[in-house]
């Protein structure tokens, strides 16, 4: 009985030792990982964060790329069958349309040449032609739905940070955002609806200059409109020639409503509906930098 009690006591001491070890381990793990996280938060652009991002990029993107390719192939099967059935019909229609397109292209070339001549006469900077690359959206997390997307083009395809990204939706071309991070095969696009995004712009017709800013939701904010400006609902807003990053004349959105001016404010603001809804974009066009695309 006595020896049994002694054994039980020794076992209890051993167990308590293990418990304390476990507790110390949990506290230590919390301390290490919380400190690392805080370091990442405090040093967002340092080599520590850069290294962590690079490691994660190399570790995870191959899986995501493979997954995207498999998804595309799987989604493409029914569409491919339908497409095969429609191809013959479409071919016939396109043969006719091709002749009309050739005429239109000739007209467009003439208009561009005329535009260049007039621009030279007026001593204006030539408007560069858009040159770039199509990219598919491979990642869009609902946690940052209006903030960023990842596309399947990267350094290998000539994508560089700050390249403008545009899209086509319902037959309209418009701004989507800009490249903020590039890896070898993928890039991250900061959407224009992100609250860190802003672009100089002008309102169609009257030419009021303003600043379009993201708000972290679907609508954009048009700020710094002159107080006399009263844009009508539906007025389209374009990127300004003053913008360094974006080509001029690119549609940003349309005015939804103008906010009444507060007494203490020296400007008025308005809500904008983006031309391209970032939440629905599946494919984008990454423009190469204007300097490279400018005709020689």
């Amino acid at each position: 009985m006595v020896s049994g009690f002694r054994l039980s006591g020794a076992s209890r001491v051993l167990s308590r030792g293990l418990m304390n070890k476990e507790k110390r381990l949990a506290n230590l793990a919390l301390l290490i990982f919380a400190t690392l996280s805080l370091l990442f938060l405090v040093l967002p652009t340092g080599p520590v964060v850069g290294g962590a991002r690079a490691i994660l990029s190399f570790a995870t993107y191959p899986f995501i790329n493979t997954g995207e390719n498999i998804s595309e192939a799987a989604y493409g099967i029914p569409a491919g069958v339908v497409s095969l059935l429609k191809t013959e019909q479409e071919n016939r229609r396109l043969r006719g349309a091709e002749k009309e397109d050739a005429l239109l292209r000739a007209q467009l070339e003439a208009a561009l040449a005329e535009n260049r001549r007039l621009a030279a006469l007026a001593a204006l900077a030539p408007v560069p032609r858009w040159k770039g690359i199509w990219a598919g959206v491979i990642e869009r997390d609902p946690a940052h739905w209006n903030s960023s997307i990842t596309i399947n083009r990267g350094l290998r395809d000539g994508v560089a940070p700050h390249d403008p990204v545009i899209g086509v939706q319902n037959g309209k071309t418009g701004l989507v955002g800009k490249i903020i991070e590039v890896s070898r095969e993928t890039s991250k696009v900061l959407l224009m609806t992100d609250d860190m995004f802003s672009v100089t712009c002008y309102v169609q017709g009257r030419g009021w200059d303003a600043l379009a800013e993201g708000q972290g939701r679907e609508l954009l904010r048009l700020n710094y409109l002159p107080t006399e400006a009263q844009p009508e609902a539906g007025a389209e807003v374009f990127t300004s020639p003053a913008s360094v990053v974006y080509p001029p004349g690119l549609s940003i959105g349309a005015v939804l409503r103008v906010h009444s001016r507060e007494n203490f404010m020296t400007f008025i603001s308005a809500d904008l509906v983006p031309t391209i809804r970032p939440g629905a974009v599946k494919e984008v066009y990454v423009l190469k930098k204007a300097a490279e695309a400018r005709p020689k």
Binding site: S15, L18, M19, N20, K21, E22, K23, L25, A26, A29, L30, F33, A34, L36, S37, L38, L39, F40, L41, P44, V49, A52, R53, L56, S57, A59, T60, F63, I64, G67, S71, V137, I138, E139, R140, D141, P142, A143, H144, W145, S147, S148, T150, I180, E181, K188, L190, D194, D195, M196, R217, G279
Partner: protein
Amino acid sequence: MTALRLVVFYLACVTAHWWVGTHLSIAGASPSLLLAASVAVATLGGPLTGHSFAFFCGLYLDFMSAGLFGGYSLAFTVCAYIIWFFKWRMDFAGAAAQMALALALTVLVGLEYGVIGLVFTGKLIWRGWAYSILMPLFTAIVTPFLFIAAGMLSLDGGKRP
């Protein structure tokens, strides 16, 4: 061997999280498979396993977002600690308890991330009501399945403190 299994499980969760988020979101929300997996591993594994798995899951979300880098990893690590603290005091063997745990922790992560945003950027990060309500519900629904998957890893549950 367990470490290797954990790495494979992590990569599978990352890929699944990406696929569900990109292709299966409903009303702008989808389950956070990474949070559900973190909850499962932190409950079934020891403190070091749980904390490190949660940290790396958070780090992936940080990597994918354009905002605060380190916010999710901090929030997930704190969650792992909370799970370790409570796992010996509560029974998380049943699916209902696992769902309730995931629901509470998803809301907590949202709040933590909001507060971290407030501290580091001066803005409270708020994803909207639809996302804030639906995401925890979806995450809670998938959590028992992640417990089953994590159970196959034969994790060492640690000693009772």
